[in-house]
């Protein structure tokens, strides 16, 4: 298994947001600023990696019929850890992310990877898969939030970006999130198609 190939798979070929279109709800909600986007990405990466490992370890023990509740319980445990850590050490970020930290429990990406990958592959492979998918999620969130923060509040990482430009409020609202995701998805598909030599 090539690590480089795996990373490329997570970030580009099977990017959770931009290609698989999973986890759009938290992406829309938290990608209003780079700080939020990155924090959310890191939290989800931690949960994804840990839950992938545990689910992969337990994949022979978990009965097939009740696998989804079992996955949810495992994921919820790690989400609780993240939540407590955030509350203790990064209270500002916790306040910004709000309800979307507990909602990581039902994030499609994490459940999707558990169902599609971790419950069928060995521990090491699942660990790598969790990591690269988490990196892909964080990467996509960062792209979205850079665009939205610049256009929506004329700032980057909290600093003023272009003096004199009046920011477009719509980009930090939901419609702007949809526009941004749609356009980034379109660009990713366009580049992917061109690389593969697909002609429309």
């Amino acid at each position: 298994m090539m690590i480089g190939q795996e990373i490329k798979r997570g970030i580009i070929d099977e990017n959770p947001i931009l290609v698989l279109a999973l986890g759009l709800c938290p992406s829309l909600a938290v990608s209003t600023s780079v700080q939020n986007g990155f924090g959310m990405g890191m939290a989800a990466t931690f949960v994804l990696t840990c839950s992938n490992v545990i689910i992969s370890l337990l994949r022979k023990v978990i009965p097939d019929k009740v696998r989804i509740p079992c996955f949810i319980v495992i994921i919820a445990m790690f989400v609780t850890i993240v939540q407590l850590v955030l509350k203790a050490y990064l209270p500002a970020l916790d306040k910004q992310l709000g309800i979307f930290v507990p909602l990581i429990v039902v994030n499609c990406i994490i459940l999707g990877r558990a169902e599609a990958y971790a419950s069928r592959n060995n521990v090491f492979k699942s660990l790598i898969d969790g990591l690269v998918m988490g990196v892909g999620f964080t990467f996509a969130l960062c792209i979205l939030s850079v665009i939205r923060e610049i256009l929506g509040s004329n700032k980057l990482l909290g600093f003023k970006f272009v003096p004199g430009f009046q920011p477009m409020t719509v980009f930090i609202l939901a419609p702007g999130g949809f526009f941004t995701i749609a356009f980034v998805m379109g660009v990713v598909r366009y580049i992917g198609n061109r690389k593969r030599g697909v002609r429309r």
Binding site: Q166, M168, V170, F171, L173, P175, F179
Partner: protein, 356 residues
């Protein structure tokens, strides 16, 4: 001549064969249509631009040269955006069909004359780039591009979009204390705090008709819009039923629910006239609800569509947070067009209803 109907090898008696002795071997068969009109997309769009000119002139008269600058910038932004997208996607779509010009003018008509020029350019670029070209260009967009541009600007720059300037001839005569509020905002405020005086608004009607009132760049003069609308009706570019039903619905509803408790007093008669003349109703009814791409094709569908626009406009004006609801009502009804068309499909000639 019966050339089209009889694709026979043998020439008929009336064929020109006998005249000069040249034997005609075959008849040509071509696919329909056989009757052609000089009308084309660019032809229609050019007439729409011409019909919009009186309103542009009115805008320049009432708001100064800033109105002309905004319109030119908006049109240029629309054309450049369409050209860039067509080039980038290597589409064969013709750029010279004037539809981008119409969109650009309409975006400018839908903004306040005090808007910074680059905001108008952004609105125009959004209208073409997002509302029109991403769905496949002219004929494939599901909402009116110009109104989408306006809605985007309303969401992006709400304060700049609602900052209206008084006209160059001063504010509404007969009403104290309004310099920048639009007539509809003024009306709504007067109805809300009970200070409504029919006489004040009666004096305002002629100003509303001529256009000497604050508001969006192109919506001021009902007279100029009416002139353009009648031109388009005469050229048969827009159907009569959409503007008629749209304006009629607003008129009826604002007369029935006029809020004064009576229906035949002078104020009860003035209110519906005020409603149809103020705001962007004429602009919307003649130029945007009639957009060929985003309004129903079926005759009955057009009536349903226009009535829906009228009801929504009235509801937004009466109960909504905005003083004006024309743009949102048309956008909302645009989304219903596929449903309306499906349910108002005309009966085919001779078709019998299925009995099962």
């Amino acid at each position: 001549m019966t050339n089209e109907q009889q694709p026979t090898k043998e020439p008929t008696n009336e064929s020109p064969m006998a005249a000069d002795g040249v034997k005609i071997e075959t008849f040509q068969l071509t696919a329909s249509p056989h009757l052609r009109q000089p009308e084309s997309v660019s032809h229609i769009m050019m007439w729409v631009v011409i019909a919009l000119l009186p309103s542009l002139a009115a805008g320049v008269v009432f708001f100064g040269p800033q109105a002309l600058l905004l319109t030119v910038v908006s049109v240029l932004a629309a054309i450049v955006t369409e050209w860039a997208i067509v080039k980038f996607l290597k589409k064969s779509a013709a750029i010279g069909d004037f539809s981008a010009v119409v969109t650009g003018v309409l975006v400018a008509f839908n903004v306040s004359s005090t808007l910074p020029w680059w905001m108008a350019a952004i609105g125009s670029a959004f209208a073409i780039g997002v509302a029109k070209m991403t769905f496949g260009g002219l004929g494939a967009n599901f909402i009116n591009p110009a109104l989408a541009g306006r809605a985007f600007l309303m969401a992006a720059y709400p304060s700049a979009m609602t900052r209206f300037s008084p006209t160059t001839f001063g504010s509404l005569s007969g009403i104290d204390g309004i310099s920048s509020a639009t007539p509809l905002a003024q009306f709504k405020a007067a109805m809300a705090d009970g200070s409504f005086q029919a006489l004040d608004f009666q004096d305002a009607l002629s100003n509303l008709f001529l256009g000497n009132v604050g508001g969006c760049l192109g919506e001021t003069s009902a007279l100029a819009l009416l002139a353009g609308g009648i031109l388009l009706l005469y050229k048969r570019i827009i159907p009569l039923r959409i503007p008629l039903v749209y304006i009629g619905t607003v008129f009826l509803l604002s007369w029935i629910f006029n809020g004064t408790g009576a229906h035949f007093t002078s104020s009860a008669i003035i209110i519906p006239f005020y409603h149809i003349l103020a705001g962007g109703l004429f602009l919307g009814a003649f130029f945007m609800a009639t957009d060929m791409v985003t309004s129903p094709i079926t005759p009955a569908g057009k009536i349903v569509f226009a009535a829906g626009c009228g009801v929504l406009t009235f509801l937004i004006r009466k109960f909504g947070g905005y003083p004006e609801g024309v743009s949102y009502s048309i956008l909302l009804m645009n989304l219903f067009v596929p449903l309306i068309e499906r349910s108002t499909r005309p009966k085919m000639y001779g078709k019998v209803k299925n009995r099962d």
